[in-house]
Symmetry: C2
Subunit: 236 residues, 2 copies
């Protein structure tokens, strides 16, 4: 047990220094390891590492509080509201996600100063600026946050935002909740960036191989259940 | 000029065989090279090549005719329709895309038989099955195509669909139009899969280096202007 708390502390330290950590969710969930870091530190070479060593979807994670301030909707809720107008959305309802009951996807954005939006320079700018905005709206309560958001970002874009469940790990145990909980425990701006790690066999990289990768690159490897336990203690 | 027609023919031959081709759009546009192939032939290792050697967004391309049959909207149009309900969409209006006047993004989908949706197996299945659906709805005119689509796919998902402009290269000269035009000239189902090729310097891989990559891997390299010229002759 001491070992596990030590690793949580090391992960917090790594996040504060702008380093990657690895998070495996659970064999009973996606069974995937994500390579993640605090968005405020994301640089072009961070995106390069995510796409070369990860290879999945490179995405932004935010908290429900921030999403509420920005009036960021869940795509699934938005689709639900307008499926009379766009009947295709009714047909495509994601009522059969095998590992969870709800998609955490919100909008896809680009920073307005990006060019195509997809290069390492562009995606890292979108992510860093989103973390900056998250900081800047901390004390904004007059509903102006949405305008500040729109001034800097456009949608559709190339960086998907996933929104954590309101009660975080008490409600949902996906990577988004695991990462945002880690950010809170680290006292960092709750904006995370990450990517799933793929294997060479068409599937996600196995837990064992992800641990090997972590060792080789000197990164902390955590399992979802360890973060959940640390979160329980921390949020008491 | 003979040289260029020969290369168009080689590219058509490669597409029919399920091979990748490389398409550089234009210095005056994105200035990006995409690695693309016909969706009907996409296998897990095709996705691996796209993410490892490309590194950009792995996306599906379809024609406006197919999108109309499926009632697939452009995201930007959809956002426009519902921005009273979701004012954030009004703030995020993409009115400043530097290289074009309109985003070609439609919905993000997963095949319903995928698990997480992001692995090479999952993304290749989504793409191949989309090409199959495209074939299957060829003679469907009773409005049933949307239902067939929803029976097999869900949204939100991990594979973005880009919809080509109605008059293809006569209207817009993006990768989506270049690819769908090539598919038509090749007599293939108009569903393409591709990914932008990134460089190590934070930017898209330069045209010169993309040509080197093509040579090294025995792939045909085309420029947008060559496809536009071939299309003009072919569609006369």
């Amino acid at each position: 047990m001491g070992e596990f708390i030590k690793r949580i502390d090391q992960a917090i330290e790594a996040l504060r220094k702008g380093k990657f950590i690895l998070i495996f969710d659970d064999d009973k969930r996606e069974g995937e390891t994500d390579i993640v870091m605090a968005s405020e530190f994301v640089q072009p070479d961070s995106i390069r590492t995510m796409r070369q060593d990860g290879g999945g979807l490179i995405f932004l994670m935010t908290s429900k509080e921030i999403a509420n301030k920005l009036k960021l909707p869940f795509l699934a809720d938005m689709y639900n509201e307008i499926d009379e107008k766009y009947p295709i959305l009714k047909e495509l309802v994601p009522n059969d996600i095998p590992y969870d009951s709800k998609s955490s996807f919100s909008l896809y954005i680009n920073h307005r100063k990006t060019f195509t939006g997809i290069t390492d320079i562009d995606r890292s700018m979108t992510m860093r600026k989103f973390a900056e905005l998250t900081k800047n709206i901390e004390n904004i309560t007059d509903g102006n946050a949405t305008k500040m958001f729109g001034k800097e970002f456009r949608s559709p874009g190339h960086v998907p935002i996933c929104v954590a469940a309101e009660r975080l790990l008490n409600q949902r145990k996906g990577h988004t909740e695991l990462v945002i909980s880690m950010m809170k425990m680290a006292g960092l701006t709750p904006a995370g960036s990450g990517c799933e790690i793929m294997g060479d066999n068409g599937k996600a990289l196995s837990k064992e191989k992800s641990e090997e990768y972590a060792k080789k690159h000197g990164l902390v490897f955590l399992e979802g259940k360890e973060i959940i336990e640390a979160w329980k203690r921390w949020s008491k």
